[in-house]
């Protein structure tokens, strides 16, 4: 097990380095020769574009994978994830309301960034609350999933309506946001994101024991002294923070949250959250860095939306899980 962790760590370092060095301007050798001005340009590309972008990919992968794992355990649903249950759409709705509905509050700089983040958390939390309320009554895995998708679609519909009624300038700002990308984040945005992800991860790490007990079922967890209400509350907070922040700054990114925990289970063959949480976080970071690397299509000027790459990688895993869960397995 230790070996697997080390392997994924080495992979992470390699992917991070590759993601920083390879980009639309070709392979960058910042410390190798050349004249002074070329070196300076290389340095600027490195520190203002590539390093922040790689850091965002890292954070997004960590946050999405962790939130997916938390949701799967708390909902006792192997197909739960921030994207499929509509939490990302909820965050989009929050951002849309902020950017389109209240453009006068828009402001600029760090205030605008914080506004986007907070509205995304509120939107994510609202949908999560709805799905949690529904899943308390309906135990059917598929039914909860379909309802999550409905909530997500409803949120998207609201966003469409908002777009229709908004001014050109507000619309432009929102459309740029909604195309989503790991790049283009300011250092301030990166800082907000890092703090949020760290906070969400801390909340999750503090709940590993309760999450393990919840694997047996709520009755068992309660009988061993777990306050199910409290754990739910903490996980609710952590998930909103993690999934909301990513959506706020990178736009909706699908299939990382749902697929990565399953890859972690397959690779590590454990159900213990003390293993699964760090494993998911690590694999999530690896996967996002890899997707970012691929999306830049080294050697060409094209940049694909990272969302398409994550979908292509994640969907086969999800299909496999669906096939397995139809055979009566929970996770």
């Amino acid at each position: 097990m230790k070996l697997k962790f080390i392997l994924f760590l080495v992979l992470l370092a390699a992917l991070f380095a590759a993601d920083v060095l390879v980009g639309s301007t070709g392979v960058l050798w910042p410390f190798g020769g050349g004249d002074a001005s070329a070196g300076e340009i290389a340095q600027r590309i490195l520190f203002d574009f590539r390093l922040p972008k790689a850091a965002v990919a890292l954070l997004a992968g960590i946050a999405l994978a962790a939130s997916g794992l938390l949701m799967q355990t708390v909902f006792r649903n192997p197909l739960a994830g921030p994207y499929v249950l509509g939490v990302s759409s909820g965050a989009s709705l929050g951002v849309a309301v902020f950017l389109l509905g209240l453009p006068m509050l828009g402001g600029a700089g760090i205030a605008r960034d914080l506004g986007v983040a907070i509205s995304a958390w509120i939107g994510a939390a609202a949908i999560l609350l709805l799905v949690m309320a529904v899943s308390a009554r309906i135990k059917d895995i598929m039914a909860v999933l379909i309802l999550g998708m409905m909530f997500g679609s409803a949120a998207s519909a609201f966003v469409d309506v908002l777009q229709y009624f908004s001014s050109d300038t507000a619309l432009k700002g929102f459309v740029i946001w909604s195309m989503g990308s790991l790049g283009g984040l300011s250092h301030g945005q990166l800082l907000i994101m890092a703090v949020c992800v760290a906070g969400g991860l801390l909340l999750a790490a503090g709940s590993v024991k309760s999450l393990n007990l919840l694997l047996l079922g709520e009755g068992y967890a309660r009988s061993m002294g777990v306050s199910v209400k409290r754990v739910r509350g903490v996980i609710f907070l952590a998930t909103s923070l993690l999934a909301g922040s990513v959506t706020a700054f990178c736009g909706p990114i699908g299939f990382v949250g749902i697929a990565v925990p399953h890859i972690a289970r397959m690779v590590f063959r454990r159900a213990d959250h003390r293993v699964l949480l760090p494993a998911s976080v690590l694999i999530g970071a690896d996967m996002m860095l890899f997707c970012d690397l691929v999306s830049q299509l080294p050697g060409s000027d094209l940049i694909l939306p990272v969302n398409t790459i994550t979908a292509l990688l994640g969907i086969p895993v999800v299909v496999m899980v669906v096939v397995n869960s139809k055979r009566g397995r929970m996770m």
């Binding site: 590993v208 393990n212 694997l215 047996l216 009755g219 068992y220 009988s223 777990v226 289970r265 213990d272």
Partner: protein
Amino acid sequence: MKLQIENIAIGYAQRHADTRLLAERLSLAAPEGELIALLGRNGVGKSTLLRALAGVAAPLQGRVLLGGEDIAGMTAHERARRIAFVTTEHVAVAHLRVHEVVAMGRAPYTGWFGTLSAEDERIVGESLERVSMGAFRNKALESLSDGERQRVMIARALAQDTPLMLLDEPTAFLDLPNRYQIALLLRELAHGTGKTVVFSSHDLSTAVQLCDALWVMTPGGVAAGAPEDLMRSGALDAMFGGTPLTLSPEGVVKLDRPAKYTVKITDTAAISRIAALAARTAERCGFRPMTDKTGETPVAEIKILEEGRRFELTDARNGTAFRVDDFHALAALLRQFGDAL
């Protein structure tokens, strides 16, 4: 520790309706070191009562005392060190290993990360040995049979190291030998460790044979006592009120069916076992078997021939006789005969 139930009412909240009251004014006691089976028909409130005893759902009224202390006044953490509960929840989690499940029983004693001390490890190992699952330590829970899985869940409850252990239908879905083995295991645990063990069950015959006391729950209340006490008082039969089932003094449940006609059984070879089987066959086909002494007029006669290897069915009205080789063919004849009557 002694479990006392004082005047409790149980039930559950319903949507769009008043609270459904399942039982009220229940007072029961379970002494230390006894195995108690909670019996009763579906929907009578066995699970609700167990949940109230476990402190998972508070009773509508009254108190549950463990060692003289009201469990409603304990924190969830304090309760977890006193009451272990094996629920009916089916655990279907991939890659979850047997010792991990049992180690979860130590949760009330470990820190936030759940790290096991050497003492915790020892208790986990001991619990697994006690349920004879020591060899399955590193197996995945998923790979076990239902009986083995139930043993693991019991080991988890053991590792919780509580004076009271509650189990909700631990023998459901198990085959007959497994049901006896689980009940035997619970009996050993109660007598060997001094725990009070209460389990709900639909399996009357194991309960009657292995439990120190039974709590028989009917819509009218709960009758408690040793199996024999409840048989003497007829409280055990109350479970079957309104059904064609009756309980024999041996604790065997029989289906009571009205028989219109009588058949006489003549045992030429005098093998009482074969005669008893022939009587069973007749009963199963809707006839009342009779011995030579009773005064009724039989409609037919079953003769046991050739030391029980052949049977002859004779119509008492006209004397036609048929010979068959086994009970299966005899039963077919009897059914035909019964239809023609």
